[in-house]
């Protein structure tokens, strides 16, 4: 049987299939519901130093072939994470990728330091779609100088695999990708959600409590595939691709565009077994195509 093992720079995974941050909670809910077959690792809900209450409801709304969310980074904060969530998560045996965010570069560094050498934490993912409060709300992901510096500072505090997760709300995603590479990131993760809004026509105001939210799901897939394709041409870093992956074919689109691994988010809500199903589907595809490993497909859609 062909293997799904994959190497993303320093990060080795049994399968290229991850959960997207924020869509799998801290894992316990899905663990009771699904068999975790095929899962290469868990990317956890973004963690901040202090607990965050999150945004006022409604926090969700469905859109054509997609959804908007405005959760507002609700999370228990570093201390409670280390004391309560992490020990339980370590038991599941899967590689844990901890997603972190801060209002300042210093907060990222502090989080990275606190997570260093925690057993089970296989990698760190920097959620760069947060506004930098010090610099007046500029997104870390869109100010390339800031982004490069942030990544390089985190590298000093964290010696494991480092993933930079980019925002799609940019003109040329190659630029932040190159900045992340220059700063020392090992892996690029793309894409986070796109800014969107639904107006409640009856109430004549934005439907979400936070007014705007982040768009995910199949609706954004063409945008995400395009960005992965562009990042692949811009850097030599391995890519974790995501955005609207619902099935094996969707995953293959990302892999052919250049992703060495993929993450599944919104689809978990629709079909909890999406990841096991894709794992089976990828194995079948490799077998039928007579390929030994997925690696041969990564980026195969680019001109030779």
């Amino acid at each position: 049987m062909p293997s799904l093992k994959i190497k993303l720079g320093p990060l080795e995974l049994e399968t290229p299939l991850l959960t997207a941050s924020g869509t799998f909670g801290f894992g316990e809910e899905y663990a009771t519901l699904m068999y975790l077959e095929g899962l290469g690792g868990l990317v956890l809900k973004t963690l901040t130093i202090f607990p965050r209450p999150g945004n006022p409801p409604p926090r969700l709304v469905e859109t054509p072939a997609g959804m908007l969310n405005a959760i507002g980074l609700q999370n228990p904060g570093l201390e409670s994470f280390l004391a309560q969530e992490l020990p339980r998560l370590q038991e599941c045996g899967l590689p844990l990728i901890v997603s972190i965010a801060g209002d300042t570069p210093e907060e990222y560094v502090e989080l990275a330091g606190a997570l260093r050498r925690q057993p089970g934490v296989a990698a760190l993912e920097l959620n760069l779609s947060c506004p930098n409060v010090k610099k007046g709300g500029v997104l870390f992901s869109t100010d390339v100088a800031l982004l490069e510096k942030l990544v390089s500072q985190v590298r000093l505090a964290w010696d494991g695999p480092l993933i930079a997760k980019l925002s799609p709300n940019v003109t040329t995603v190659a630029e932040p990708a190159r900045a992340a590479a220059a700063g020392g990131a090992h892996i690029i993760s793309a894409i986070n959600t796109l800014r969107g809004m639904v107006i409640d026509v009856a109430a004549r105001r934005p439907l979400l409590g936070n007014r705007c939210g982040g768009l995910s799901g199949p609706a954004v897939r063409p945008i995400a595939v395009n960005m992965v394709y562009d990042i692949y041409e811009a850097t030599r870093l391995p890519i974790i691709g995501m955005g609207g992956i619902m099935n094996t074919d969707d995953a293959l689109q990302f892999i052919l565009a250049g992703a060495a691994a993929v993450a599944v988010g919104t689809a978990n809500f629709v079909e909890p077994h999406t990841i096991p199903q894709i794992a089976a589907g990828l194995r079948e595809y490799l077998e039928e195509a007579g390929l030994e490993s997925l690696q041969e497909l990564v980026g195969a859609a680019h001109d030779v």
Partner: protein, 260 residues
Amino acid sequence: MRQCRARVLALQEVNREFYSLILHEPYLAATVQPGQFLHLRVDSGLSPLLRRPFSVAGAFPGTGTVRLLFRCVGEGTKLLCRVREGDLLDCLGPLGTPFTPAGADPAVLLAGGTGIAPLLYLAESLLAAGRGVHLFYGATGAAALLPLERFLSPGLLIHYATEDGTAGEQGLLPDVFQRALDNGLLPGELFACGPRPFLAALARGNQRWRFPLQISLEERMACGIGACQGCAVLIQKDGVTAYARVCREGPVFRSEEVVW
């Protein structure tokens, strides 16, 4: 909680407002408790994308079936109106925290509109436990009322209220209930489900009445199982105000804990 494929035994248009859907799924029928809900995939397409939550309106472990009662209000429920006998519906359940009757008689159930669904199941299970049960049930008019006699065992006292007076007492349900209290009704505990303004009115009233009041809330859901934090509602408990998940800590909350 499991992912199940439930077989459609019957779909019926009860009246202009309600559809009744009978699903065969012995595990659900045996485990679901009043107040809990199912998260249904109404279609395998991409639009609508997400599952839809529905309370269980009745469970029959003997036949391995559960009943849903729903209104057709949008794209998802429109598709649900088109299922056919024999279709398999993918559902997650049972989900959420059920009602927890504490035992003081009579139990009074207050249903506004679609809120009747979970309270039907609760009423049946209270009756089966030998409890005394009153059901207050309000809607805009007679045509919007579910014909309760078709879904309930005898033995409970029903009070209807309609805004236009076409059935039962005229007026809003909280006012009709107030009048019953004024006339000497003494509930042991209250259970309510319905639109948010209706529940808020009851919660306000209960600041005077001070009965134990459990309410069932709705919020838009994605995962339905507690993973996405999408179905947040503000809850104040032990002096701490924080968001709770309607799909996990709820949908049933103690009314005094909800920040309205």
